[in-house]
Structure formats: structure tokens, C-alpha cells
């Protein structure tokens, strides 16, 4: 067994919401460095809200986000991105009339590296998603649902993050593509990228990740190593549905 690595990110008592509506009620969560972590939970549990809080789109009303000893609460998305956290939001949110390549380049907007480095990453995204290469001049808004998802993930990869957050990883993707994507993420992870995925398909989530958290009603209700959770009867009955049972 590997020695548990040093925590990358540590959330304590995060409360956040939209205006007067509170959604997160004190979330505590620790991400290990260099791991793939999964976050699962029913619709409306607050998963996306938590992701938005992490990337600075929402400012939490209480709690602390600890990143290498620094509190990220209240920092702007740009500052958080500069620390190395990239967020692939739910619903893709592509720049719809920009073409695919420009969308990907926007991912590298905040990087101040030479063009060649950015170019290399671009080629890697194309290698991961050959379909995107075929469509590189097409306006992102006219891509099919699944192609858009690829473009969004590719755009996240382009910011060369240390932690990549992906909300709704497999949404609308074909089984084959999910499989390929999982492979791609694993290989990125092997190169040192930490990943946090939100995923509705619990089996995929648990197979991909090393550890996982379960969220409900704005709180973390369960956590552990993915392999163990996979066999947890409570999880199986709540989230795997009739077929798995």
C-alpha cells in the first residue's frame, strides 16, 4: 500500500448558496495530492455548488478552503486558477460561436508560457479527443452534445492545472467514449495531476477514483476508499439502482 500522501486541499465548514438560499451546510472535505477523487450524490445535493465555491464563482459565507497553507475563500476565479485549480463546469459552458480551437486556447488564457508549450498541450488534447481535431474550425455551439463535453474537458486540460475539477464527467457521452476518457484521466493522473470528478454514474465514479465522497442535502454524508465504498450495501441500494441490486 502507498503511504497516504499529503493533503492538497482541505475544506472545513464550508457554507455557501445563492443569495438568500443556502445550499451547503458546513462541508468538510480533504483531497489527497496526486489522487483522483470522486464526489457522488443525488440531484440537488449541492455538488455543483461546491465545485463553484472551489473555483471562486461563489464566495462561501463561512468556512475555510486551505490550499498549500493559503485560504482561497474570497479569492477571484482568476486568482484561484493561477494557484492551479481548473474547473470544467456543469453544462459545458463553451464559448458557443468561437471555434473549437479558440475555445481550447481560451483554456490557456491565464498561462504566461511560450506558445510552443501551449501548442504541445493543444496537441495532447487532440490526441485524447481525435474528434475535436476533426472539428477544430467548427463553432462550438454547433457541436453535438458529446463533442461539446469533450471540448469542455479539453479546455480544462489546457490551463495546465494541478487540480482539475470536472462536473458531470460522463454526461451525454457514449459508453466507449466514457471508457476512453477514463483512460485519459488516469494517464493524466499518473503524470501528477490531481483530479476531482462529480459523476452520476456511481460505478464509473468509483472505478475511476481512489477515494470518494458522498453528498446529500448540502453535507458530506460518507467518505472512504472507492474500492470499499463499491461494496458498501447502503451505497449500492441508494445509488446503483434496480439493475445493480
Amino acid at each position: 500500500m502507498t503511504i497516504p500522501s499529503a493533503p492538497l486541499l482541505n475544506l472545513t465548514g464550508i457554507q455557501a448558496g445563492y443569495g438568500e438560499i443556502n445550499v451547503l451546510w458546513g462541508v468538510d472535505l480533504t483531497l489527497a495530492r496526486g489522487e483522483i477523487t470522486a464526489l457522488v450524490g443525488s440531484n440537488g445535493a449541492g455538488k455543483s455548488t461546491l465545485m463553484r465555491t472551489l473555483s471562486g464563482l461563489i464566495v462561501p459565507t463561512a468556512g475555510r478552503i486551505d490550499w498549500a497553507g493559503e485560504d482561497l475563500c474570497g479569492q477571484s476565479p482568476a486568482q484561484i486558477l493561477a494557484r492551479g485549480i481548473a474547473h470544467v463546469p456543469e453544462g459545458r459552458r463553451l464559448f458557443s460561436s468561437m471555434n473549437v480551437e479558440d475555445n481550447l486556447l481560451m483554456g490557456a488564457y491565464a498561462r504566461k508560457e511560450p506558445r510552443a508549450a501551449i501548442r504541445r498541450d493543444l496537441d495532447r488534447v487532440y490526441a485524447t479527443f481525435p474528434k475535436l481535431h476533426e472539428r477544430l474550425g467548427q463553432a462550438a455551439g454547433t457541436l453535438s452534445g458529446g463533442e461539446q463535453q469533450m471540448c469542455a474537458i479539453g479546455r480544462g486540460m489546457m490551463s495546465a492545472p494541478r487540480l482539475l475539477i470536472i462536473d458531470e464527467l460522463s454526461l451525454g457521452l457514449s459508453p466507449l467514449l466514457v471508457e476512453q476518457l477514463v483512460e485519459a484521466l488516469r494517464s493524466l493522473n499518473r503524470e501528477g495531476l490531481s483530479i476531482l470528478v462529480v459523476e452520476q454514474d456511481v460505478i464509473t465514479a468509483l472505478e475511476l477514483s481512489t477515494s470518494a465522497f458522498v453528498m446529500d442535502m448540502g453535507r458530506i454524508v460518507q467518505s472512504g476508499r472507492s474500492a470499499e465504498l463499491m461494496h458498501d450495501p447502503a451505497i449500492r441500494s441508494a445509488y446503483l439502482g434496480a439493475l445493480a441490486a
Binding site: G56, R93, F95, S96, S97, M106, G107, Y109, A110
Partner: protein
């Protein structure tokens, strides 16, 4: 010969139209704001050139160096301070807001400069070039060259620079752009500043050519509208093509149908274009 002369007039005039419209098109296409102050900004630029020439003897093309930063800052400030507050609101709200702001700006100019027409008369006058029986006024050529240069500069800023891409990104999805590390309010303000700077510079150049008065703002705005739609929203090369196209249609329309129909023709053309080709001559389909 008459045909050639009219074509020549149209080409020169068209590039002035392009300069009038480029900034307007940028703000409209990118910020999704129809800036009704655009005409007044142009007039203000003309006053700046007029004042600089009258008081200090500074030639208009030199005044550009002052006008560009001054107007950029003006636009940046207006966007940051006022427009940004409602930037996410529906079309009508921002439009009406700029309408209100324009009332203020125009009234202020009316009080400050009075309504009477002024003219920047270059001394000595630049005269006209003639080739055979064709003539072109030199001041228009100067204005044309500078306006094409300015438009080109704007084009490169938008197309080639990081800021340019960010401007387009913000336009399409604010939150997603924020996630890419874009400082949204400052990008908006930069875009508006660029548009305002273009208006100011256009005004400086036009001061050599057209009489100056706060009242003129309306017709500049009208031209900007038409050119922008003809060329394609937010497209800088589109502004050039649209400007030329409009000038040619107006000039030949005036020849064939009589001058009183030139304005009708341009607005008729606008409607036809909106219907058959809303993306304009150079605009891409799918841009909203």
C-alpha cells in the same frame, strides 16, 4: 468619367464610414450593447481636434495621439462606473441606459459649445489631387488613410491579442470566461474603451471634413448602425466592407434615383440585409 468620379468619391467616403462604425460595431458585437452615445463621442472627438488646432495649432493627425488615450479612459470609466451595473440585463435596458447617458452628454456639449456649427479649416488648405478630370480632396485621403490604419490596428488587437480573445469569450459566457481567469469587468471596460477611442479618433479625423456640432451626432449614429449591419456585427473588417458598400450604394443611388432618395435607400438596404443576411457581408452565421 462621371461614373469613375462617383466611384472614387464613394471609396473615400466609405472608408470614413468604416471608421465611424468600427468602434460601434465592436461594442455592439462584443458587449451586446447598442451604444447610443457613439455619435456624441464622435462629435466630442471633433471638438477636441478643433480646439487643439485652434488653440495650439496641433494638426488633427497629431491630435489622434491625445484623443486615443483620452477617449479610451473616458469609455473605460463609463463602462466601469455605469454600464457594468446592468450589463447582464436585457437588450432594452442597456439600450435605454445609453439613450439616457447620451441625452446627458449631448446636452452637456450643447451647453458647453453651443449648437452652432464650427469647422476646422486647415490653413493652408490641403487642396485636391487631380488625375485627368478626376479629383480627390487631400484631406479626405489623409482621413481615409488614418481611418484605415486605425481600423487595422483595432482588427489586430481583437484578432491576435489575448485581450481580443478574452473580449469575445466574455461576450459569450461570462462565468465560463471567469473560470478561464478572465477579469470580466475590466475586459468589458477595455472593450468599451476601445470602442470609445475609435469614436473619438473618428471624430478627430472627421473634424477636417464635416461641420462640427452636437446636433450632428444623430447622423453619425445612423451611419454607424447601417454600416454595422451591412458589414456584420462585431466584425472589424466587416465595418470596412460595409462602409464601402454603403457609400457606393448611396452615391450611385443618388445618381440614379436622385439625392433625396440616398438616405431612404440606405435604410431600405439595411432592412433587406437584416432579412436576407442578418450576419452581414462578413459576419459568420451563428453569431446569435
Amino acid at each position: 468619367m462621371l461614373i469613375l468620379q462617383i466611384l472614387l468619391n464613394a471609396i473615400v467616403l466609405g472608408s470614413l464610414y468604416a471608421c465611424i462604425a468600427a468602434g460601434f460595431s465592436l461594442v455592439w458585437g462584443v458587449l451586446n450593447v447598442i451604444n447610443l452615445m457613439h455619435g456624441s463621442f464622435i462629435v466630442l472627438g471633433s471638438y477636441l481636434a478643433w480646439g487643439a488646432y485652434k488653440a495650439l495649432g496641433v494638426a488633427p493627425w497629431t491630435s489622434l495621439l491625445i484623443a486615443a488615450p483620452v477617449f479610451f479612459i473616458l469609455g473605460y470609466g463609463i463602462q466601469r462606473g455605469v454600464l457594468n451595473r446592468v450589463i447582464a440585463a436585457p437588450v432594452l435596458v442597456t439600450l435605454t441606459l445609453t439613450f439616457g447617458l447620451d441625452l446627458i452628454l449631448n446636452n452637456a456639449m450643447l451647453v458647453a459649445f453651443k449648437a452652432d456649427y464650427r469647422q476646422l479649416v486647415l490653413d493652408p488648405s490641403l487642396g485636391s489631387l487631380s488625375v485627368g478630370s478626376l479629383v480627390v480632396p487631400v484631406d479626405r485621403i489623409v482621413a481615409m488613410i488614418f481611418s484605415l490604419l486605425l481600423t487595422l490596428a483595432l482588427f489586430f488587437v481583437l484578432r491576435r491579442s489575448r485581450v481580443g480573445r478574452a473580449i469575445v469569450a466574455v461576450r459569450m459566457d461570462r462565468d465560463a470566461a471567469r473560470l478561464m481567469g478572465v477579469d470580466v469587468p475590466s475586459i468589458y471596460a477595455t472593450a468599451f474603451g476601445l470602442g470609445t477611442a475609435m469614436a473619438g479618433c473618428a471624430g478627430v479625423l472627421l473634424a477636417m471634413i464635416f461641420p462640427i456640432s452636437p446636433i450632428a451626432s444623430g447622423s453619425y449614429l445612423g451611419k454607424a448602425f447601417v454600416v454595422c449591419v451591412l458589414g456584420g456585427l462585431g466584425s472589424v473588417p466587416g465595418a470596412v466592407v460595409g462602409g464601402l458598400f454603403l457609400a457606393i450604394v448611396e452615391s450611385f443611388g443618388s445618381l440614379v434615383l436622385g439625392p433625396e432618395n440616398a438616405v431612404t435607400l440606405s435604410f431600405g438596404l439595411l432592412i433587406v440585409f437584416l432579412i436576407v443576411r442578418p450576419q452581414g457581408l462578413l459576419g459568420k452565421r451563428g453569431f446569435e
